[in-house]
């Protein structure tokens, strides 16, 4: 999933492009959420001790529970989410997809073994590995979102690419996903952990693409090449090239073609389709941001109760999030409660943000940090610069 070692590279070479913020910081922001990633998370995380949540007739419901509560959490904090669902996978991804289904098949085998042995810890582990997001899951969630009054988009192809398009087109502020290739697709801001469970108390990690590119001294197209070198979902990576080596190669030669012609000794895969991968990252198949209209509307209370309680059988189930905590018994009341929360946020006028009225200035501190990057060439920026200010204690 994503780009191998990219987070490590960012941490090493551009720590200042990463910021940890509380969820409140994103108040009033519209955010494109990678729905497939969330569904996967929910299917894994929201489960009881004997597996996923199911309705009385055995249908999985974990994804709906997760979607319902975590969307409410975002809305309560003033965030306006828009979910983006995956379309058909690009042909290039078939290799990766085969690998994934092989992994699942293996998990299935191991699962059978573990079940025979009565090894419950492993049973759960392998069950989680077998999780697959099916079109049925997506349909359920789309129905749920419609009832909740939250907009969603079906991407023609990759969801991350569609999210990036929405960010670039100014329709939303950021992309929320755990998948780092949102940056490769060109989302100027990536938020991680936005849909994580509240219990984990994870801060939201914000990665700013422009800042990252300035720090590592690459253009967007060079960055795409770097990501392909490191290993993406679409083609094999180059053996023996990790974050540090990859970055120095790109800085030295500027593109994959030049690296290949200058370093024949490197272990490039045969028939390496890097050009197609690059094409996919640079101009993916997306719905143009201009033609997308996002509308947040009032939740349909009766519809939600009908769907969740009657159709999906949400009645007094005790769920146990992966932390072995008994969270709640939930039923019609809980659904109605959620609707109250959604409605409350829709009520009356919305609070504006100051930065939509005033222009943001580069803060003096950041400016001096940036200058320092220039002076020190492109060396690692692990140390905080201390130019005019004798400030050493990094705020924690």
């Amino acid at each position: 999933m994503g780009i191998q070692g990219l987070m490590k590279l960012i941490g090493d070479y551009s720590p200042s492009s990463v910021k940890d913020n509380g969820i409140k910081t994103y108040f009033g922001r519209k955010v494109a959420v990678d729905a497939s990633m969330c569904l996967y998370q929910f299917l894994i995380a929201v489960r009881t001790s004997d597996g996923v949540l199911t309705s009385s007739d055995g249908e999985e419901t974990s994804h709906l529970v997760g979607m319902f509560y975590r969307t409410i959490r975002m809305v309560e904090n003033g965030i306006k989410p828009v979910y983006v669902f995956d379309g058909k996978p690009p042909d290039m991804k078939s290799g990766e997809l085969v690998k994934r289904s092989e992994k699942r098949a293996e998990a299935q085998k191991n699962l059978a073994e573990a079940q025979e042995k009565g090894d419950f810890e492993n049973v759960e582990r392998f069950q989680k590995r077998m999780v697959k997001v099916t079109p049925k899951h997506s349909e359920d969630c789309q129905r749920l979102l419609t009832l909740m009054g939250i907009p969603y988009i079906k991407a023609p192809c990759e969801a991350e690419a569609q999210c990036a398009e929405l960010v670039k087109g100014g329709k939303v502020f950021a992309t929320a996903t755990e998948d780092m290739d949102a940056l490769t697709f060109g989302s100027s801001i990536l938020l991680r952990h936005l849909t994580a469970s509240e219990q984990k108390k994870l801060p939201i990690r914000e990665i700013t693409l422009d800042h990252l590119l300035t720090d590592i001294g690459l253009t967007q197209s060079q960055f795409v090449d770097l990501c392909i070198l490191l290993g993406c979902d679409y083609c094999d990576s180059v053996k023996g090239v990790g974050p540090a080596k990859g970055l120095s190669l790109i800085r030295q030669y500027g593109s994959i073609e030049k690296i290949m012609s200058n370093n024949p000794k490197l272990n490039f895969p045969e028939n390496w389709p890097y050009e197609e991968a690059r094409q996919l990252f640079m101009s993916p198949e997306v719905v143009k941001a201009d033609s997308v209209e996002l509308k947040w509307s009032k939740p349909d209370e009766a519809g939600l109760v009908q769907f969740m309680v009657e159709d999906k059988g949400f009645r007094c189930v005790i769920i146990n999030f992966s932390l072995n905590e008994i969270i709640c018994a939930y039923s019609e009341d809980r659904i109605r409660n959620g609707v109250r929360k959604l409605e409350k946020c829709k009520e009356g006028a919305t609070q504006g943000r100051l930065d939509s009225f005033f222009t943001k200035l580069p803060s003096p501190a950041t400016a001096s940090k940036r200058k320092a990057t220039g002076e020190h060439g492109h060396g690692p920026m692990r140390k905080k610069s201390k130019l005019s200010t004798p400030l050493l204690h990094k705020k924690k």
């Binding site: 509380g22 006028a349 930065d355 004798p390």
Partner: protein
């Protein structure tokens, strides 16, 4: 080397208390002109800034611009140790990461000195354009505090409406609604108690009551407060600090539920 002495330590305490309503940490930017600060709350709805001119300090020395990153809770602790009439001196040597705070009693027979560790705070600075406001209201700060507190019992939003007759504050919620009107009046002998409305154009704006209540905690700084309003522009709440400068709060208004008018800024 930076050194600034203020005859009244209580003034700095009031300023920092007013800051603490909005943020936990703040960068004080010191230059030869004086001490400035701008800080935004975490949800980017409110901003507080102050400007203390070097004229208010005696002596004041700032050889080169420095930024003092302060944890406000720490500063409050230190300032609690000051006597009511003590003077305060802030001092920071170049290339150190500490701030020295010195209190001296009026007759100089007691001094207390504290070293405060500085922090590197990552902040966003906003450029605030000069603006011609539709209405500028001046009223006693105590009155403003009272109004905010009273109306906070009636819902989350407070509407401020300025007309040629005066200014009206109103709020409504589940239990009912409330309306408080102030008429323009001037008393020649008590300038601080007068209510004035300078009006270019009638204006009505809605704000979050919670923030206004927080702002009004700055009341001890000044006996009167100025509210500047303009449609689709953040409200400015200004407390003048006599002889030294001012402290201002900015608050983004609540906007109608019209999706199209919402503006998404790109944050680079």
């Amino acid at each position: 080397m930076f050194e600034a002495k203020l005859a009244q330590s209580s003034l700095l305490k009031k300023v920092l208390d007013a800051l603490r309503e909005i943020v936990e940490d703040a960068n004080l930017d010191c230059s030869s002109d004086g001490i400035k600060c701008q800080a935004m709350d975490s949800s980017h709805v409110a901003l507080v800034s102050f400007d203390l001119s070097s004229d208010g300090f005696e002596p004041y020395r700032c050889d080169r611009n420095i930024t003092l990153g302060l944890k406000l809770a720490t500063m409050t602790r230190v300032l609690k140790c000051a006597g009511n009439d003590d003077s305060i001196t802030l001092r920071s040597q170049d290339n150190t990461d500490t701030l020295t705070v010195l209190f001296e009693s009026p007759n100089q027979d007691k001094t207390s000195q504290f070293e405060v560790k500085l922090m590197d705070i990552d902040t966003e600075h906003l450029g605030i354009p000069e603006s011609e406001y539709s209405a500028v209201v001046q009223l006693p700060s105590g009155e403003f505090q009272r109004i905010c507190r009273d109306l906070s019992q009636f819902g989350d939003s407070l509407v401020i409406a300025c007309t040629k007759d005066g200014v009206e504050f109103s709020g409504s919620g589940e239990i009912g609604s409330a309306k408080i009107s102030l008429r323009q009046h001037s008393m020649v002998d008590k300038e601080d108690e007068q209510v004035t409305v300078e009006l270019n154009q009638p204006v009505t704006l809605t704000f979050s009551t919670r923030y206004l209540v927080s702002f009004s905690k700055a009341t001890p700084l000044s006996s009167s407060v100025t509210l500047s309003l303009k449609a689709e522009t953040p409200l400015v709440v200004e407390y003048r600090i006599s002889d030294v400068g001012h402290l201002r709060y900015y608050l983004a208004p609540k906007i109608g539920d019209d999706e199209e008018t919402e503006h998404i800024d790109d944050c680079s």
